[in-house]
Amino acid sequence: MIRNRTWHRAMVGTVLVADVVILLVGGAALPGFLPFALVTLAMATWWALARPAGWGAFTLVVIQVLCATAPGGAPTTLVQWALAAAAGSAVILTHLALTLLASWPARADLPRATALRWGGHAAALVWVAIGAALLGALATTTPLGWAPWIAAIGLGLIAATVWQVRVKTRRS
């Protein structure tokens, strides 16, 4: 069992780290956007952490998406795709952390099996973001004729994910 304070702090820390990543992604595209993003994210984070089961969580995720994507344009370079993957990972981790904070009783301890499963699921979804970014990077840096092959790789990744989910579901 993980003590309630420990897992609670870990989830709050995850949301704060995700905010920092989003700020870095937004700041890399447009440094002047940083102060506005900082204030907005701070307020939304405070609201979301105070009421993770309410509209605060939705607002924070939307603001994170806006802060990460509004300052820049469509990614073309490998670095920009890497930043997009980082933003995607931060958004999904924020969503999962807020979900756990909202659904789990704040005073209850977290079973280690639950923590491991949530960690595994979060890692899988982060890999989806990284895979999508790799696919995007591949599509922008290759000639147009390769498009069917890249689409096939994308479909293959989706099929592999669905297969993995089915396997895990049957096993449990």
């Binding site: 995720v61 939307v62 998406v65 994507t69 209850a108 099996a113 995007g136």
Partner: protein
């Protein structure tokens, strides 16, 4: 029939933002939006693919239905595992006099390969009586907490906590022993062990009773006679109409009903060990408690269980009727009646006087806590006892009630019903000796 599994806000959030991002990406040609939206949509697909549909069954049980005051019981809730169920959370709260571990009562468990997901709390019963644990709230989650299920009913578990009897001993005999066997010396001659007299032999006397030294000395046969050994019936009458004072575990302060229950348990334990029959009636409480008077080792457990069910009256019409029916119920002749009361209700005292007039030996034990009887009573205690919110007015009302109480106790004493305060061992000795003397004294009979 709709599924009891409901989508959560988290699923709605992921669906709304994920779909919006993928749509914006495809229309706006922004690959970064697709990268952010893809994990959210993957989460939604994953959650939908693993969505549970079956309803988990919940079984709640206590390790024991009856315990002693201060015992710890384990409250266990088992949720059957269904496909897709990942985590189970529960809230198992105790009541005011049951301390749970963990104190907040929130527990959680992960669904593993077992058939059930067990959750448990330990509940220490701090006070005698019927303790109600709950209502239990149980919920379950699927992957990513995307679908949630809650137990529609709120179950309550009850545990009967038996009081710990106090310490009581008495060396005084009971006034009217009328049973066939026991440890009290009868007023009549019969088969027993204590010598009564040596008298001349009469037809029918047993030969082994012949006292040879006296027979040889006097030249005529003499026999020894003994007093018969008899038992008595002790009827404990507990006044549960009002419970005055507050139980405080830290300071050790007790309410009037706590004192009465402890005293009743102590008296029952003592007289049952001396071979008497002990019965119990709880007057005016929230539940009718009647334990018939019998002897034996198991009777103490029955009496203590009955005491554990004593609850102060809630003042309903049904309780009033039950009280009147209890007061009409007859008590066997010769029974020794011990009324344990805080002496703030008129009915039990009137009942005691009626019993004394009908020939029973009756003793009233005053169970009002000492801190309420004196001027050092706290404002809170006085307000609680009188039901008046203004502390100054409550003190005045309580003072008047104490004066009234004193007068009623005095009238009881005049009517032949002694009123004594509970002091533990030897509390009843003086009044029992007086009652025994009165019962043996010659009486004037009008012809």
């Amino acid at each position: 029939m709709s599924s009891p599994w409901r989508p959560t806000r988290a699923l709605g959030r992921a669906t709304a933002i994920g779909v919006a991002l993928l749509t914006a990406s495809s229309f706006g040609g922004r690959g970064d939006l697709a990268v952010i939206g893809a994990p959210l949509v993957a989460l939604v697909v994953w959650a939908a693919a693993t969505r549970p549909t079956a309803v988990p069954a919940v079984r709640s049980r206590l390790s024991t239905a009856v315990g002693r005051e201060g015992d710890t019981v384990t409250w266990r809730v088992d949720v059957t595992t269904v496909p897709g169920l990942r985590d189970v959370v529960g809230h198992l709260p105790g009541d005011r006099w049951a301390t749970t571990t963990p104190a907040h009562g929130h527990v959680a468990a992960a669904a593993t390969s077992g058939a059930t997901v067990p959750m448990a709390v330990e509940a220490r019963i701090d006070r005698w009586g019927v303790r109600r644990l709950g209502p239990v709230q149980v919920g379950g989650f699927s992957d990513f907490a995307a679908f949630a299920w809650t137990l529609p009913e709120q179950r309550v578990e009850t545990v009967a906590s038996v009081p710990n009897p106090g310490v009581f001993t008495s060396s005084a005999p009971l006034p009217h022993p009328v049973g066939l066997v026991g440890q009290h010396r009868s007023t009549r001659v019969g088969g027993g062990t204590e010598l009564a007299e040596i008298r001349p032999f009469r037809t029918g006397d047993r030969l082994r009773r012949i006292h040879w030294p006296v027979s040889l000395r006097t030249g005529a046969l003499h026999v020894t006679t003994t007093y018969a050994d008899q038992d008595a019936e002790v009827r404990l009458v507990l006044d549960a109409i009002r419970d005055l004072g507050e139980r405080d575990l830290e300071t050790g302060r007790r309410s009037s009903l706590d004192v009465a229950v402890e005293a009743a348990g102590a008296v029952a334990a003592h007289y049952l060990t001396t071979g008497d029959r002990v019965g119990l009636s709880v007057l005016g409480g929230a539940g009718v408690v009647e334990v018939p008077a019998i002897g034996g080792h198991h009777q103490l457990a029955r009496v203590l269980l009955g005491l554990g069910r004593a609850e102060p009256s809630r003042g309903t019409v049904g309780e009033e009727r039950a009280l009147r029916a209890q007061l009409r119920r007859s008590i066997p002749p010769g029974a020794f009646v011990v009324l344990l009361s805080a002496l703030v209700s008129a009915e039990p005292l009137a009942h005691a006087v009626r019993l004394a007039r009908s020939g029973h030996a009756v003793v009233v034990v005053d169970t009002l806590p000492p801190e309420l009887a004196g001027p050092e009573a706290t404002d809170d205690a006085v307000c609680s006892a009188t039901g008046v919110e203004d502390a100054r007015l409550a003190r005045l009302v309580w003072r008047l009630r104490l004066l009234d109480r004193e007068r009623e106790a005095h009238q009881c004493a005049i009517a032949g019903v002694p009123v004594i305060a509970w002091r533990g061992a030897g509390s009843l000795d003086s009044v029992l000796r007086q009652a025994a003397r009165r019962s043996r004294a010659p009486r004037v009979a009008s012809r």
